[in-house]
């Protein structure tokens, strides 16, 4: 079974982010990780590999050369191979372009199953998985919490639905997005890290893939970021005065009623 995983390198939640003077670009502190939800995808693929014969795990991402670090993390966790899709000329802010490129790469490499995180924690968009599945003409199930490979051709999954869980039986090939709760991602062993350091990671130029190039070029982006701005700052906290919990609560309720007008 060929398992393909789409991952994304994202700024660490602690990374400092500065909006540049022109409000058109950002300066992001050099602290990056593999997207939190993608770790569940890599872990699930590893569990399938450990339980079944002839499983190959391929990871890929679109990004700059820097994104190789996230691919190496996936190899350290146990992925067999990794590819970097060069995003320098592509409309990387546009989920449509990203999913076109990823699906074209998937078609070229071949796959039985695609896994990716339910959303990226930098833009919270949750678009690329379902969009790539649409371009590939395969089913998808979002936010899976449990997966069982029934045989080489089908899987049974449980996923998060509104107000509960859904249980789906899906014929492969199919795409699944992974949610926290699916598994506990492993911490790479030192041998894995060594292997990852040495792994050669080919760079793929999206221009070599079978996609209408004009549809994925930077200037074809369907979305344009007009400007970045800082969030509105909250005024400094008002610490509620009082000698006793009773007094403090009384003053808080008064403030919530009369100043904030939320009670």
């Amino acid at each position: 079974m060929n398992i393909l995983i789409f991952i994304k390198q994202v700024a660490d939640t602690e990374a400092r982010i500065i909006i540049k003077g022109d409000h058109k670009s950002l300066e992001i502190e050099n602290k990056y990780n593999m997207n939190f939800f993608d770790e569940f995808a890599v872990e699930e693929a590893m569990r399938i590999k450990e339980k079944n014969k002839d499983v190959q795990i391929t990871v890929c991402t679109i990004g700059s050369q820097k994104a190789v670090e996230a691919l190496r993390t996936a190899i350290a966790m146990g992925a067999d191979r990794a590819f970097l899709l060069d995003g320098s000329k592509a409309a990387t802010n546009d989920p449509l372009a990203i999913s076109r490129i990823l699906s074209a790469f998937a078609k070229k490499e071949g796959f039985d199953m695609i896994l990716c995180g339910r959303q990226a924690i930098d833009d919270e968009s949750a678009n690329v998985g379902a969009m790539a599945a649409e371009f590939l003409g395969i089913p998808h199930v979002s936010a899976i919490l449990k997966m069982e490979v029934v045989d080489g051709n089908a899987v049974k999954v449980e996923n998060e639905i509104e107000g509960g869980r859904g249980i789906f039986e899906v014929k492969l090939p199919a795409l699944f997005t992974t949610q926290k709760g699916l598994n506990e991602p492993r911490v790479p062993l030192i041998t894995g890290v060594m292997k990852a350091m040495k792994a050669s990671i080919p760079v793929v130029d999206p221009a070599t893939l079978d996609i209408p190039q004009e549809a994925v070029a930077a200037e074809a982006s369907k979305v344009t970021i007009l400007s970045y701005e800082s969030p509105q700052e909250r005024p400094p906290v008002k610490i509620i005065e009082g000698e006793t919990p009773e007094e403090k609560v009384k003053n808080l309720v008064k403030a919530l009623k009369e100043d904030a007008k939320v009670l």
């Binding site: 833009d123 395969i138 979002s142 509104e162 014929k171 979305v223 969030p231 919990p245 403090k248 808080l252």
Partner: protein
């Protein structure tokens, strides 16, 4: 061409979700600006009776009532919506950034080759069109985005992004029929729904969150009581969920749910970035923590520096009194 606005109406247990009424309220304002029409799109089984709920908020209500749409699946819903959108050709389609919205909208946007912006929190006019407000990096940056208008723009919004205006319209109901095509490779074998009286965490107007400072699952009872009084929900920090004191569905923060209630109260929560990124768009934030240096106070409007265990029972009684006054 008229810039008609469509709102995908989400239902929960046979009732219209609050987020859909928020989007209809905002949609009316947008359609008003463009002198176009606002359509509510109501899809499901036995939903004709629900049309009356959205009629006051819409110029037109498109209803597709079909047995095959009883249970939400992206394949059937996308096939029906595709039919509607091809027929009516709207300017923009709005939906909630909910479990369903996140599953359905990207599939449709790819099918139409359209611009999609998800998890947005605001919208405004720009040139002859619109611009969309979307937080990035857990709210550290706000971006404004414009979209290519050559096909319908798909946008999902966080619940609680807009207020609900009192509806004074009486939208004409249009019944349509489109095939609800199932993907034969995907079989819904069943669903397990929690039978829960609880308000949806993302839609709640009031959230009281407990952190590790609550010391154990048994101490969440008082939070439940307060949430009950306020008609809201109890949330939890990651540490609490990881310690299995609360279910994952209660988790507020980066790897949990992003919430923006009218009033958020954090109890015994230190305020790790991970958590604050999921709640810092709340309208009013109250923090209760005995450590005056806890980072949560940087995000709060009001703070009580005291032991949560001493404050909470008093707060419960005080809030109960405010409810009784109404």
């Amino acid at each position: 061409m008229a810039k008609d606005i469509f709102v995908f109406v989400e239902l929960k247990e046979g009732a219209v979700r609050k987020v859909s009424l928020e989007l209809l309220s905002k949609g009316k304002e947008i359609a008003g600006h463009f002198s176009s029409s606002l359509y509510a799109v109501l899809i499901g089984h036995n939903v004709k009776g629900i049309a009356a709920t959205v009629q006051p908020y819409s110029d037109k209500v498109i209803v597709i009532d079909n047995e095959g749409l009883a249970e939400y699946r992206w394949d059937t819903y996308a096939s029906v919506l595709e039919g509607i959108l091809r027929k009516y050709n709207p300017y923009a389609v709005l939906g909630g950034s909910t479990v369903t919205g996140k599953d359905l909208f990207p599939r449709l946007a790819a099918r139409f080759g359209s611009a999609i912006v998800s998890d947005a929190v605001g919208i405004d006019f720009h040139d002859s069109g619109i611009k969309i407000k979307k937080p990035l990096f857990g709210g550290k940056v706000i971006s404004w985005i414009t979209c290519s208008e050559d096909s319908a723009i798909f946008i999902t919004f966080r619940p609680n992004s807009f207020g609900i205006e009192k509806g004074s319209l009486n939208g004409e109901v249009i019944e349509e029929q489109f095939e609800a095509a199932k993907d034969p490779k995907m079989n819904l074998a069943g669903t397990e729904k929690h039978v829960s009286e609880k308000v949806d965490l993302q839609e709640a107007d009031f959230i009281i969150c407990g952190g590790r400072g609550m010391k154990g699952p048994e101490h969440f009872q008082v939070l439940e009581e307060i949430a009950g009084i306020m008609g809201g929900r109890v949330g939890a920090s990651r540490a609490v969920v990881d310690s299995k004191w609360r279910e994952y569905e209660d988790q507020v923060g980066k790897s949990g749910k992003t919430v923006s209630p009218k009033l958020y109260i954090g109890c015994g929560i230190s305020g790790a970035l991970h958590h604050t990124m999921g709640m810092d768009t709340s309208k009013v934030i109250v923090a209760i923590n005995k450590d005056p240096n806890a980072p949560i106070f940087h995000y709060a409007d009001y703070g009580i520096v005291d032991d949560a265990f001493a404050v909470l029972p008093v707060l419960r009684e005080a809030l109960k009194k405010t409810r009784e006054e109404i």
